[in-house]
């Protein structure tokens, strides 16, 4: 009996040691983790600092995160300002890990005066992310080079297919209906790549409770520009959404996922699922 217990304990202690055969990778948010898992396969152990459904913009690091970073051999950041001030924390906590910026080589769009960090929303950019992550993995674990290259090639071809699929889906929307009003600011790259106008409501705060002026402006703008659908994330009260829809004649779109993947049982557990889900919501609302 005692011997079994000891054996079990030894196994538990030894388990992390076994995992050290793998490359520990830490990413700042879930979409990068998904890319890293697809490229690394069973050669890597990936953790994401911001978990599923978490908001990368309002992330506050914890001591446990510093531990994750210290254990990592590779740290993958998005860059373009997404990590903000926590980038310095991550670089410091990463100790002797290699730190890469996955968006390297992407031409950034602007969001006001700053670069728009949501570059992954275009599938073409996602392929650049994947290539960067592949090269970084090869650099920290040259022995697995052929595995990483094969995985990346397979995943890149899936992304190619996804890009074609998105274009085909969007083509179902008549060109004059490819516009929507949204308070999401994360779809600049998506809109540019697939020629959908994501129109921000004029002068409407995305954070605060909607005032009568905000609601009136949204309604007036939808009426004037004959916009077929609205996707609103700050207006969370379904009754208010219904009023806006009734009075403006626009359809209310479903949930779009922008900065975080969902739990495995949610609608967007992987990057490819997320893009598919968003496109379906858009086509359903605009067609």
């Amino acid at each position: 009996m005692m011997r079994w217990l000891v054996a079990a304990l030894v196994a538990m202690v030894a388990a992390p040691a076994l995992a050290q055969g793998k490359v520990n990778v830490a990413t700042s948010f879930t979409i990068l983790a998904d890319f890293a898992r697809n490229v690394g396969g069973d050669r890597v152990e990936v953790v994401s600092l911001v978990g599923p459904n978490g908001d990368a913009h309002s992330y506050v690091p914890s001591p446990a995160d510093a531990k994750k970073l210290a254990d990592a051999k590779l740290v993958i950041l998005n860059g373009l300002g997404l990590e903000g001030s926590t980038e310095r924390f991550m670089r410091a906590a990463a100790k002797d890990a290699k730190v890469i910026v996955a968006s390297d080589g992407i031409t950034p769009l602007r969001l006001g005066n700053d670069p728009d960090p949501h570059a992954w929303q275009s599938v073409a950019n996602a392929k650049i992310y994947v290539a960067n992550i592949r090269d970084a993995l090869i650099a920290v674990d040259p022995a697995s080079k052929s595995t990483f290259e094969a995985n990346a090639a397979a995943y890149l071809s899936r992304l190619d297919a996804l890009g074609i699929e998105v274009k085909a889906e969007i083509a179902k929307i008549p060109p004059d209906r490819r516009k929507l009003v949204t308070t999401h600011d994360a779809f600049g790259y998506f809109g540019t790549a697939y020629e959908i106008a994501f129109i921000a409501p004029h002068g409407v705060s995305t954070e605060a409770q909607a005032s009568a002026r905000d609601v009136a402006r949204i309604i007036a703008q939808i009426r004037a520009q004959k916009i077929p659908a609205v996707f609103l994330e700050n207006v969370t009260d379904p009754r208010l959404l219904e009023r806006i829809a009734r009075e403006s004649g626009a359809r209310i779109g479903g949930t779009l996922y922008s900065d975080a993947l969902t739990e495995p049982n949610g609608p967007a557990p992987t990057y490819i699922n997320m893009v598919r889900h968003n496109v379906q919501e858009l086509v359903a609302a605009l067609r």
């Binding site: 002068g203 005032s211 009136a216 009260d237 009754r239 959404l241 009023r243 009734r246």
Partner: protein, 289 residues
């Protein structure tokens, strides 16, 4: 130009009309109750009851989502329960009614926050605390209007003993045994009006539309009928100006309504003819023979 500012928003947008109707109905029902509460020195009662409603509304929310009737009935039950329990403890033990009410509403509030946060997001909690006067559907409007109508009817029925209890509770007790049932019916009305108000303004601000107009009216007349009239008009005016403020200046609508009511109150504290600050500083000369 005044037409564009004062009237056009309501003609152009359905949601503005609905918000206005709701505010007017709330003022009509809640302001008289506020006046009675004030005269009975129970002004903080409304606040306590508003907190007490939260767990009931939260349970309704957990069961049925943002469902009007589930949340209203839950709130109603929780509010009445707290009012009755507080009343019972005050009668049976040595604790005074304000103390036992405070005890129960604090427990109730903590329970409400616990239930709401068990569900997860804070956004949901904000619905409870602030409501949304801009997103009222037909069912909400009917509920608010029905509550106002019912309040006025019941107030008319229990009016005499109610006023008598404000003025001379001892005398009421000596001539009638209506005191206790009237008191309970009145507490029911307080809860009912807060439940109606929290659809539009949220649990906390609903109290504002009940109490602030009553305090304002106190500075304009000593006659209780006139006081109620002034209170209703003040409440209605607050709703109208508050909505215009939200429309033109982009302030959140619910708080804007209560802020206007607060401004009217402060104006009355200063300039009101009955005990206002200015009147006390510069009293009218008495006629001298």
């Amino acid at each position: 130009m005044p037409y564009d500012i004062l009237i056009a928003p309501f003609l152009e947008f359905d949601f503005m009309r609905r918000a206005l109707v709701a505010a007017l109905a709330l003022a009509l029902g809640a302001a008289p109750i506020g006046v009675i509460l004030m005269l009975r020195r129970m002004s903080l009662m409304g606040d306590a009851m508003a907190h007490a409603i939260l767990p009931g509304a939260a349970v309704g929310f957990l069961v049925a989502g943002l469902n009007l009737f589930a949340m209203s009935i839950g709130g109603l039950i929780a509010g009445l329960l707290v009012a009755l329990l507080a009343g019972v403890v005050a009668r049976v033990t040595e604790l005074k009614e304000d103390a036992s009410l405070a005890a129960f509403f604090l427990v109730s509030l903590a329970l409400g926050v616990t239930i709401v946060s068990a569900r997860g997001t804070n956004i949901d909690l904000l619905h409870f605390l602030f409501g949304n006067v801009l997103g009222l559907d037909a069912a909400s409007l009917v509920l608010i209007a029905a509550i106002s109508t019912l309040s006025l009817l019941i107030l008319a029925l229990i009016w005499r003993p109610l006023v008598l209890e404000c003025v001379d509770p001892g005398f009421l007790r000596s001539i009638s045994r209506a005191g206790a049932p009237v008191h309970i019916a009145f507490l029911g009305l307080v809860v009912l009006n807060l439940v109606g108000g929290f659809q539009a303004l949220g649990t906390l601000l609903a109290v504002g539309l009940m109490m602030l107009p009553a305090f304002t009216a106190r500075f304009w007349t000593r006659d209780i009928t006139a006081m109620i009239l002034v209170a209703v008009l003040t409440g209605a005016l607050s709703g109208y100006i508050g909505l215009l403020l939200s429309f033109h200046a982009g302030v959140a609508a619910g708080p804007a309504i209560i802020l206007v009511a607060g401004a009217l109150y402060i104006g009355s504290v200063l300039a009101g003819p009955v005990g206002g600050v200015l009147r006390q500083l510069f009293p009218k000369r008495h006629l001298e023979a």
